[in-house]
């Protein structure tokens, strides 16, 4: 078990990072840190995909010097997924940050608990 974790060190690291990001997004009270957590979580997935797509000793999947065999190149699909994923996470990050700015302007705090409390008070 321990050996397997060591052999797949990159995957292990990316899953640990995923956990760190997930926990931050879920439990942290500060909105900016939550967003950072979200980015760590997403990036961990990209690291995982990139590692899985990489095959040792092979080239970037762009045809060079007329070499046509598939076995000369790494798997291009995970790289494509990472690119798509980055686009998605950029847009969600932008949206979250915009929302955070709005919330800060309105409630004067970045602390989610305080924001929710003030929102509740405002209503009452």
């Amino acid at each position: 078990m321990g050996m397997a974790l060591l052999v797949n060190a990159e995957e292990t690291v990316s899953i640990i990072l995923f956990g760190v990001g997930f926990t931050m997004l879920m439990l942290h009270r500060n909105l900016i840190k939550k967003i950072m957590g979200m980015n760590i979580m997403d990036t961990a997935v990209y690291l995982f995909l990139a590692v899985k797509g990489y095959i040792k000793g092979r080239m970037v999947p762009i045809v060079t010097d007329g070499i046509q065999e598939v076995s000369a190149y790494i798997n291009p699909v995970p790289s494509g997924l990472v690119l798509t994923g980055i686009v998605v996470s950029v847009s969600t990050t932008a949206l979250m940050l915009a929302l955070t700015i709005r919330l800060y302007e309105r409630y004067g705090s970045l602390d989610l608990d305080q924001i929710l409390m003030r929102a509740k008070e405002e209503e009452a």
């Binding site: 995923f18 997004l25 979580m41 997403d42 699909v77 997924l81 969600t92 209503e123």
Partner: protein, 519 residues
């Protein structure tokens, strides 16, 4: 190849491009474009459904003619067509019924943005229904989340902003889990398309390899989508989001968005992971237990709630619990019941939200449900709509809620270990539903008396006076229009409910047929 087979792709792309086009239109034109697109895509879905019923089989549609293991695919069958038709109808009437409130709730300059969100929502829902590719599903899940967030935060009153951030956080937790699940699945199977992935999964299971990763994949994907659809312990964002958004948004969010994710989950269970593997992994038992918990706790929360809209939102928690309970039974009949309840809940919850608006209008827009005393007399049609919706949720015969409860109960009889908890939970939850829904209906039809009555009567008379004072004629004619639109929506939803309730046999048969096409 028949021309109709192109329609799933056309409808997704039409909805998406209408969103882009709306960014340069003004509010009214964007709204009309939205309505047009929803009507056209629903029409297309009807034809797809008809085509699949006629041929009796599903088909896959290659995007750009790249063959199976590489390209991107769309897949349509009876269940996809049926779901798309129902979602289209619910969305169309939600937009019509809430149109005038949208015009008031949303700033003039942002009207078109609201309809862009509606278009994107439609496009992403259709894509979630039709797609045969896992990563495409992830991308559209995110588009759906962003559109949903836009719909919540565009009404800038009360707690809408703070509820939007809560919604975003929970959704991102769900999408993160879903994404890592997909990545793991891709690494184990080497495929993103559902059909080849399923073959690979079957081989892996037969060889007995990767037992732990497969379990993790199942758990992570199920939990991710369960968070996004608001299954019980992850339901905290629901009441705020549904309670404070503008009526169209509430109806769309509660009626459709969570169902899109559930549909995707069912599709992944059947088309990728293999239903028998999911059952063997005990994952469905987890969903079953949380479903039961949701059924009871959602109703208990709703009983304790004073605000009508939040009460309806908590009832959604309970209804999502029903759906997951049906999935958790692990039989074909249970799944049919779950899908049928998905339809029931879409039609009924939208009806409740839209008619609640009509009732609020005549009662001074206060939060407490007791302000609605006698509102059923002041706005008779909205009152009837609300009563029908409430009775359907409680499970009154003739209405769709009755059929789904019947289906749940009969399917529970087929799984001996889960029969008792299911039937007890159904009974208790029905009683709890009746407690708060009938309390509301009785409130609506109580003749106002004393203080409360004076206040509301004074309010409605005052409103009448002021509206007469403000250049009388135009005001009354526009008010007439408002009522007509609301009426149209409420009547259509009631009809939809009656159709689901009275014409249930063919629909249930179609769901069964669609599910067997999934395999």
């Amino acid at each position: 190849m028949s021309f109709v087979q192109n329609f799933p792709f056309f409808s997704i792309i039409a909805a998406m491009f209408s969103g882009i086009l709306s960014s340069v239109l003004d509010g009214k034109k964007a709204r009309n474009l939205s309505l047009l697109v929803i009507a056209v895509t629903t029409g297309m879905s009807v034809m797809v459904l008809g085509f699949c019923m006629r041929t009796g089989e599903s088909y896959t549609y290659m995007m750009g003619h790249f063959p199976a293991p590489w390209g991107n695919e769309i897949r349509a069958g009876v269940l996809e067509g049926l779901t798309a038709v129902l979602f289209g109808l619910v969305m169309f009437f939600a937009v019509i019924g809430g149109m005038d409130h949208t015009a008031v709730d949303v700033e003039e300059s942002k009207q078109n943005l609201f309809y862009i969100m509606i278009d994107l929502m439609l496009s992403s829902l259709l894509a979630l229904i039709y797609t045969n590719d896992l990563f495409t599903a992830y991308v559209f899940v995110e588009i759906n989340t962003i559109a949903g967030c836009g719909l919540i935060m565009i009404r800038q009153v009360g707690r809408s902003l703070s509820s939007a951030i809560r919604y975003m956080i929970m959704s991102q937790l769900g999408s993160g889990l879903f994404l890592i699940g997909l990545s793991l699945l891709y690494d184990v199977t080497g495929h993103l398309l559902m059909s080849p992935a399923k073959e690979a999964v079957a081989e892996i299971e037969a060889a007995g390899l990767y037992a732990v990763p497969m379990l993790v994949i199942m758990a992570v994907i199920s939990v991710g989508l369960a968070i996004k659809s608001g299954l019980y312990p992850f339901h905290y964002w629901i009441p705020d989001t549904y309670g404070y958004a503008t009526p169209t948004a509430s109806a769309v969010l509660s009626g459709l968005v969570s169902k899109g994710y559930i549909f995707l989950l069912i599709k992944i269970f059947y088309r990728v992971l293999g239903q028998e593997n999911v059952i063997a992994s005990q994952m469905i038992n987890v969903l079953f237990v949380f479903g039961l918990a949701g059924m009871l706790m959602g109703s208990v929360h709703a009983i304790m709630e004073k605000d009508t809209r939040r009460m309806i939102a908590y009832s959604s928690v309970a209804q999502i619990g029903y759906i997951y309970m049906g999935i958790g039974l692990g039989t074909q009949a249970g799944m049919v019941a779950a899908v049928f309840h998905m339809f029931t809940h879409s039609a009924t919850k939208a009806l409740l939200f839209i008619s609640a608006v009509g009732l609020y209008e005549v009662s001074g827009d206060r939060k407490d449900y007791r302000s609605l005393v006698g509102a059923g007399y002041r706005n008779p049609l909205a009152g009837i709509g609300f009563a029908v919706g409430a009775l359907s949720m409680v499970g009154f015969p003739m209405l769709s809620g009755f059929i789904s409860k019947l289906l749940f109960a009969t399917s529970a009889l087929q799984s001996p270990h889960k029969m008792l908890p299911t039937i007890i939970a159904l009974a208790v939850s029905t009683v709890l539903n009746a407690v708060y829904f009938l309390r509301l209906v009785i409130t609506l039809y109580t003749i106002p008396s004393g203080d409360e009555g004076e206040k509301t009567r004074a309010f409605s008379e005052g409103q009448k006076l002021s509206s007469e004072k403000e250049d009388g004629h135009r005001q009354t004619s526009s008010r007439q229009q408002v009522i007509t639109k609301l009426r149209l929506a409420v009547v259509s939803y009631i009809l939809l409910n009656l159709v689901l309730g009275l014409y249930s046999q063919p629909i249930v048969a179609a769901i069964g047929k669609g599910l067997s096409m999934f395999a």
